[in-house]
């Protein structure tokens, strides 16, 4: 049984499923964040309140955290195994032309993790009461954060990295799930580009607008 659950193919399968779940969560988060662009704090704050109180969302939140942790730990575990699969490296670096982004998934992934830790300190831990702050008014809190240049630099940098991660992640997940099709795979590849550019661009737009405004 363990042989099946923890075979390389099964672990990639679970990683892909968890990854797709995370991919689907991004536009939801973006849609809520776009309310930050309104002058009225009410819609954003009530959306945030809804997200932290509605029971179904609570369940999804647990799944989301599980997905994140599984994706993270499986990713690191497989990366270590992959490094061990070639104990002696080549003297000449590879000259094979491959998809550029796929080579750096572990690094783009880990930098996103650093951002997430920051993000948890800034928002999620306030909600849990672990860090001082007013969980009822994340709108003003977010606006204040986006006034700090350093915060914007980190924020923008991380979303560029997220875009690079998504560029490979989206279509790679489909391949791992065995979903390959003469007609649909090219469609998935286009969708992947839209996701990889659109989502980070949306988040970046919020950061830039709030930074520059007022």
């Amino acid at each position: 049984m363990n042989k099946i659950l923890f075979s390389s193919v099964s672990m990639k399968f679970v990683m892909a499923l968890a990854g797709i779940f995370l991919l689907l969560f991004l536009p939801v988060h973006l849609a809520i964040n776009l309310m930050l662009l309104k002058n009225d704090p009410e819609p954003f704050n009530s959306a945030a309140a809804f997200m932290s109180s509605f029971p179904v969302i609570k369940v999804i939140e647990v799944v989301l955290f599980a997905a994140l942790l599984i994706h993270l730990f499986y990713g690191i575990y497989l990366q270590i195994k992959n490094l061990l699969a070639r104990p002696v490296r080549y003297a000449v670096n590879t000259r094979t032309k491959v998809s550029f982004f796929s080579k750096f998934m572990i690094w783009t992934g880990l930098s996103i993790l650093i951002f997430l830790v920051l993000h948890f300190f800034n928002f999620y831990f306030i909600k849990l009461g672990l860090v001082p702050g007013n969980p009822e008014d994340f709108y003003s809190h977010a606006h204040a954060l986006f006034k700090i240049p350093a915060y914007n630099y980190i924020y923008l940098g991380c979303f560029i990295l997220l875009g690079l991660h998504l560029f490979h992640a989206f279509s790679s997940a489909f391949q791992t799930l065995g979903l390959n099709h003469r007609i649909w795979t090219p469609v998935v590849k286009v969708l992947a580009r839209i996701w990889a550019i659109g989502i980070p661009a949306g988040f970046a737009l919020i950061s830039l607008t709030l930074w520059v405004s007022r």
């Binding site: 042989k3 099946i4 075979s7 390389s8 193919v9 099964s10 672990m11 990639k12 399968f13 497989l78 195994k81 992959n82 061990l84 699969a85 070639r86 104990p87 002696v88 490296r89 080549y90 003297a91 000449v92 670096n93 590879t94 000259r95 094979t96 032309k97 491959v98 998809s99 796929s102 080579k103 998934m105 490979h168 279509s171 790679s172 391949q175 791992t176 799930l177 065995g178 979903l179 390959n180």
Partner: protein, 244 residues
Amino acid sequence: MNLTLKIWRQKNAKAKGGFVTYKMENVSPAMSFLEMLDALNEKLAKENRDPVAFDHDCREGICGSCGMYINGHPHGPVPAITTCHLPMRYFSDGDTIRVEPWRAKAFPVVKDLIVDRSAFDKIQCEGGFISLDTGSAPDAGSIPVRKRDADTSFDAAICIGCGACVAACKNASAMLFVSARISQYALLPQGRTEARERAGAMVAGMDEAGFGSCSNTGACEAECPKEIKLTNIARLNREYYKAY
């Protein structure tokens, strides 16, 4: 052409290896890479020095034994050919060529450029076959097969087990090789019967041998001398999930 060769020399599996530089003069552009190495070995033998050990057999791109890592490319810089088919005219006068053996935990170096690829044989023994009594060949066309399936199966079956996919992969993964074997059988009625057991057993064999996992990077497809496609890996994944 005059060339500088930097070739990995290693006495045996345990010894510490290193690059040794050889000057080659008057290399004909019409020679294959292996013939150029033959010329080098002749020279070394005349000088009473140990010739460079490299694997070769058919010298016509079908046995898969001549793999070596040339200037950062398995089987050299020209796509879709094996080292034995690589003509020297693709190099220029004055070039420095670095030659290394395949690097993978599952392919330990035996000597110089020769690695032990028996890990592939072990994976093959796990299920890369059809359990039928072999009688005489049946009449062609006695079992109907869709043309597209027959073609895709054949395209997978031409994998020569050379290991360039492993050598090219940043994870030293054998997924392209295994997927070619699984596809070759899974698409044909005779192979379908054992498709489930085969996928499970071959993946287990692959993991056990110490190959890495697939990150869909595509280096294998880019370097495979037989142009085995990544779509086979998607099929392997499908077959594996169906198995459980």
